[in-house]
Symmetry: C2
Subunit: 366 residues, 2 copies
Amino acid sequence: MTAFPERILMGPGPSTVPQRILRALGAPTLGHLDPRYIEIMDETCVKLREVFMTENRLTFPVSATGMAGMECVVTNLMEPGDEAIVCINGVFGARMAEVMERAGVVVHRLEVAWGEIFTDEQIAEEVQRQPKAKVLTIVHAETSTGAHQPLEGISKIVHDEGIMLVVDAVTSLGGHPVKVDEWNIDAIFSGTQKCLSCPPGLSPVSFSPAAIDVIESRKTKPQSWYFDVTMLKDYYSGKGKRAYHHTAPVNMIYALREALEIVLEEGLEARWERHAHLHRRLRAGLESLGLSYIPEHSLHTLNCVRIPDGADDGSVRARLLDTYGIEIGAGLGPFAGKAWRIGLMGHSATQANVDLVLAALVDCLE
Amino acid sequence: MTAFPERILMGPGPSTVPQRILRALGAPTLGHLDPRYIEIMDETCVKLREVFMTENRLTFPVSATGMAGMECVVTNLMEPGDEAIVCINGVFGARMAEVMERAGVVVHRLEVAWGEIFTDEQIAEEVQRQPKAKVLTIVHAETSTGAHQPLEGISKIVHDEGIMLVVDAVTSLGGHPVKVDEWNIDAIFSGTQKCLSCPPGLSPVSFSPAAIDVIESRKTKPQSWYFDVTMLKDYYSGKGKRAYHHTAPVNMIYALREALEIVLEEGLEARWERHAHLHRRLRAGLESLGLSYIPEHSLHTLNCVRIPDGADDGSVRARLLDTYGIEIGAGLGPFAGKAWRIGLMGHSATQANVDLVLAALVDCLE
């Protein structure tokens, strides 16, 4: 077997995966129609509903990494010629516009500067300007900037106009509150490799009953067969026949089940508070080193700071990796070479890691 | 951790995964841009080229299960309005037609009965009838029927007419010869969970230089962002910058790397011969029990036999599973309730398993 270096993953994901999840991942592969596997899948979906805080029947992990969840949501909810308001304040809002356009959707871009968030007033104005919009999409946790977008006010505004709310929660689920039912979210997607600390490879999604109504009244078939939930929903909902659609990624489901179990053992509230507390500790330390945060409303789970004058981006990150085994993230897009992204996600969010990365930065910035 | 029953996987996939691969799967998760991970990915692609018997630069595992490979090939090669000849002799040919139509392709269906294969003459006639066809797609190993389609003659016929050849090798790669360069295949996809005995979750694909030319001269963007190889090929080819596209399924890549290593240690020729030899042993045993094969040209890797009169499909399979821990496959489509599919793939293809499944069938059919 090949050699693996020891790493502490404090970038934008994956986060460090606990041994318990790695052991679950390496359990014997069962057939995807084996009665015991079906039970494990059902258990996984039940736990996923708890973590998403939803009763949505159609809540399951898409069999591919995080961006596939975005594509699954778009492919199923939207038909060619439909209109969407896409809120863009970083890479992942822009990505959504791109995925929408490939699906033939007329995209209305609502943009604010990278690192900023949207106000209720901006959303209310745009919703008025676009009376034909079917959905509004917004990024709850923008991984490219660390901005943390409040959703409750926005949800009321869009639903008052009969528009559905689609949320990208890739970097928040399991680290920040994500209250799908309370916030009335119609479709949401996340990833396993961020605050759930499961290896990358699955994308949890959830669709509201209203979203399912829209999907069931489509005039056209979704352009993707692989992501078509009309063929998957019986498999994952526990209703009807467990017909074969595609071979499920069996071992990744074992790992996700274990990861969700760990989240629920800790408790959602306690887990959010751990991330909040360690973010405050990290932030105080970074600011005392003269590193300033880019977003005014920062995520706890991803800390995006300006690279100080005189520091060389690549050599600092290389030294962190080589000397300390610590991975942090580079800036993306306009922040390339200008920002670092320090993740505090799931199993990586410990006081030991916070104190170590601060000590390592002191050393590397000398 | 949850309890797992012991299974011997002799269905249509997944096959039994060796401990060595499960251990590789459970190795520590690295970041997808970690220099060591990039090396592991490069090693994986090098080995994949060896197993596909190709020099194709664009040879990599799609980050999703087997059917995603089909969708990746269609999405990249085809544009709306393009024409395709789709050869259908089972579920997976029909699936290809469906995926093509969702991509806006004009599909010319060439059908023979389930379980039969296509003759060179049938292909030659159809190619003459469809002068505007851009590709011809065919299933090398039809998992729903066990039919084994020869490809060399067909490849010459389609290329003589300037048509590209697309091959579904999900159930043959690693069990039967799949000679991508020698057979002049333009695009091919497979799965990890069949004759490679890796868990499900990835879909190896390979595109010829001619296919890349077609992709690079597209007039429209592929409808899928997730499967768009124009954004992936720098990442996987070792050329250019390793830009972020999506988070790779890191641990699944570890497992695939190990699975390919095992294939190459055994040697392709020896592996094909093992599958051939054990197929003959199984076939002799099944036929002596009065079980007849459905396809005249049977795969070695999947053995599709008629359920004998008087035997109850569900109760025999349940007894095999409960008493012997053996999973075999049910029939699909018109063969539901009429056929069993017994897989001899990769790690499951042993003399012990052949003799055990025969003994177990004797017991269950009494």
